[in-house]
Amino acid sequence: MTEAAVKTRPPADKPAPAVPRGKTAKNLSGHIVEIVSDSGEGAQRCGQALGAIAARMGNGVWTVEIIPAEIRPPARSVAGGSGNRIRLGSGPVTNGGNETDLVIAFNEQVLLGRVRTGELKPGCTILLESMWRESRDNRIAASYVETHDQLVVAGYKVIEAPMERECRTIVADAKRGKNMFALGMLCSIYSFDLQLGRDQIARTFGKKDASVIESNVKLLNAGFDWAESNLEFKYRIPATRSTEPQMVIDGNTALALGVLASGMEICAMYPITPATSVSHYLSAAFEKVGGIVHQAEDEIAACTFAIGASYAGKCAVTVTSGPGYSLKQEGIGLAVMGEIPLVIINVQRGGPSTGQPTKVEQGDLMTSIFGSHGDAPKVVLAPGTIEDCFYSVITARKIAETFNMVVVVLSDASLATSQTPFTRPQFSEAWLAPPIDQSEVGEGQKPYDWNPVTGLARRFIPGQPGGMHTLTGLAHDELSHVAYDPDTNERSLRARSHKLAALQKTLTPPPVFGDPKGDLLVIGWGSTKGAIEEAVTNLREQGHKVSSLHLTFLQPMAPGIKEIMQRFKKVITIEGNWSDDPNDEIIDESNRRYSAVAMLLRSRYLIDVDCWSEVRGQPIKPNSIERVLLEKLKKK
């Protein structure tokens, strides 16, 4: 907490009404709550605050941002809803979960947006701002009434909340502050310690003056009191506070902290959603810790700038998303050919082309493995959790420098903006790389002295006396001399390829989630990990013999995967990239396109791996996965 926040913490002499007035809280093991508003009304801040409070209560929590595609969409528009979705749990929460149980909406239009995308659970509770009913604009009033009545008919439990009116008794402009009123309501609904709410306000507004904090605390209290007196229900999600310090961050912040922790000090980038916030965070952090974010003129320059820095001894990272990743391809090939360590973070979004900038998709795996012309072997790994995002960058740098290879870290838009607590990492010196080697190179040593078995070679860094040579993207021999003869060409291709095999030998088989054998094995990668494991847990509780396997290394793949698959009767992948549905009229076994990992597993292990994918721009829900797995189990 900042010092300012400590000082301005309001005195605790006005305790919150600790016992609900005449209500008993119903115990829940988990709940999903959303708050949506026009953008600029602060629903996101409210959601983040609720997530932070829940985490401090010791609850499991997973927050997902609801982001409109435009910066300032028109007010009261169906596509313009902005906010946050918070999944609360008794134990750790590993994903965004299924449909929403409770919504606070600041107008009926943004609410409609959520209804239409199918995000709300049938019959869920809706707390709807009621001011629109009395709107002087007849069309607005009519639209409100119409939507309200439709939702009631559809079975939703709609409660009209006079948030605006209540806030106006405290502040002149309710637009700024309604979110804290809503936060107060939520603290009441979930029986959260109101003091934590006040602390959170102090933390959020710590830099502003005390009057801002004071009025927000008043709004918080008012929301709490209103809910206590006017709502019939109240919940409690029992929590156990962790004994270890926890960090609550989103995936992009975790990636950025991973960059810091890996000791990398140069990040070259060009702004692109949803990757940019990695560099925003790094830009500020580097100013304190040392290091630079270079905002290049385009992604080609960002990639080649990073290559130059890496070549010169400071392993660099470049951060991007789909379209930018495509632009980097020629540079990637150069780094592969020159055997220059390079870390590339690709926070995937919907593609192809400009696609869906803010939406999640796992569509870049194949281009990551096979991208760039010719045979360009590189390492691809994908974090499955927000915690993984942090560690994967450290691992990536280590591999990049040990094997002189390009390492691609594939995150996605879902991990990028979701938040969940994880154990605060314990700093290790091993994360950092040794200083640049400037020792003299002995007589007769060669810049590409490929080990005949592993393909590995030492690398000479500018400044090393005796190591002078010209690195080239042309075919070259051990001396880095341009060489077009057939033997040298094959020898160098073999060396670059064998480095992947050498890395593969150091990997261990991934652990199976569930029993080591059974009827169905589900394989996934990246951000779907939590949802898949939750689905598998539920099915196992129902007695099904289902297990799952999460792949962190996509290239090379860890050993032992074939043996694991062979212990199951059926294998299916669940992925967020396109695959043809075998039930579609024109699709048959001879033309069906499989999703990425399924295709890789089929070709590598000659096992009949099926796949199911969903490319709707939303994280895949555990209950969708359950449904698919049940069907797969039933099929002969």
């Binding site: 962790s242 320059a301 080649t304 130059g308 002078m468």
Partner: protein, 330 residues
């Protein structure tokens, strides 16, 4: 054994270098190719400045001219077409202790790499950039380049090229932050050397356009200028080039031009006949990107750890102590 970069600086032993210490291999350029003259001038410069080969970098793209680094016994980076500049920027950012040179062709720099060229001028990083302008694509066998004079017959413009030639000097001088612009011709080696030397000594992005003969695809293009020294305009100034009496006798078309005068520099830049040769612009006061935006102090493990822990603190929820109070820092 690993030796720290700074430590290595301290261990600088005074070593003297000869020309052959910078020569590597036999250049494979055509006989009479202007690139040979540029190579000779640069090798001489390295020797005269006694540049340590291991601390010197030649970065290039792709093209005949981009073969340059292979013929230098220094560190070299022969990368991909058009991207020499961003590679060189990355190198310089990571290692300001290195002498960085860039060799790039008119296709490499002015066509495929044009965006990087414009921005490299803005960044003004300390490096010496030689544009080997033969007004043609050499390596890919005679296609028109952006600097080909209108009417140039090439394999893609058999009836003569359609567009007016781009003027690299005027483009460069039009970009904010420009700090050093010069023009040389490969056939006056003495002046070529002097210009590259001045460029090297300028702190910032030193851009030298070298008009380079390509006898293979455009034979005799510059013959009229070589035959008639009066068609070369030599720029002289006490802050620019000073000519030897011999040269002065041959090249009588001269102008005293103050390299701080950007307006006159822009006028000179657009001259095509006579060909201006000399230093058009030299402003030592433009800040270098790597001086205003850099990694900062040497980062020790302790320093990184402290910074990282402070960042972690921002996001940490501390476990509750036994008395129910949240621990400080929560």
């Amino acid at each position: 054994m690993t030796i720290h970069a700074t430590e290595c600086l301290l261990r600088m032993h005074d070593q003297h270098h000869e020309l052959e210490d910078y020569q590597s291999g036999v250049p494979r350029w055509c006989t009479g190719c202007g690139d040979n003259a540029i190579l000779a001038a640069v090798q001489r410069l390295c020797r005269d400045e006694d540049l340590r080969p291991e601390k010197t970098m030649f970065v290039s793209g792709i093209g005949c001219s981009s073969r340059f680094p292979h013929y230098m016994k220094t560190y070299g980076f022969h990368g991909i077409h058009g991207r020499a500049l961003p590679v060189a920027e990355g190198i310089k950012m990571a290692r300001p202790d290195l002498n960085v040179f860039v060799n790039t062709g008119d296709g490499d720099c002015c066509s495929i790499g044009a965006a990087h060229w414009i921005h490299a001028i803005r960044y003004n990083m300390n490096m010496t950039v030689m544009l080997h302008d033969n007004q043609i694509y050499g390596l890919t066998k005679k296609q028109a380049s952006p600097t080909s004079p209108r009417g140039t017959k090439s394999n893609t413009t058999p009836g003569g090229s359609y567009l007016e030639a781009m003027q690299p000097l005027t483009v460069t001088l039009g970009v904010q932050n420009v700090s050093f612009v010069a023009q040389a011709v490969d056939w006056i080696p003495e002046v070529l050397y002097d210009i590259i030397s001045k460029a090297f000594k300028h702190k910032g992005f030193s851009f030298v356009r070298i008009i380079q003969r390509c006898p293979e695809w455009l034979p005799n293009t510059f013959e009229p200028w070589m035959q008639d020294p009066l068609r070369t305009l030599l720029l002289t100034h006490e802050n620019g080039l000073t000519l030897s009496p011999n040269l002065s006798k041959v090249y009588k078309t001269q102008e005293r031009h103050d390299p701080m005068n950007i307006n006159r520099a822009r006028e000179i830049a657009s001259l095509q006949d006579p060909i201006p040769v000399g230093i058009l612009y030299n402003n030592p006061n433009v800040p270098c990107y790597e001086d205003i935006h850099n990694i900062g102090q040497q980062r020790s493990t302790r320093y990184i750890k402290a910074g990282l822990e402070a960042e972690f603190d921002k996001f940490t929820i501390w476990p509750q102590a036994a008395d129910g109070k949240i621990q400080p820092g929560a």
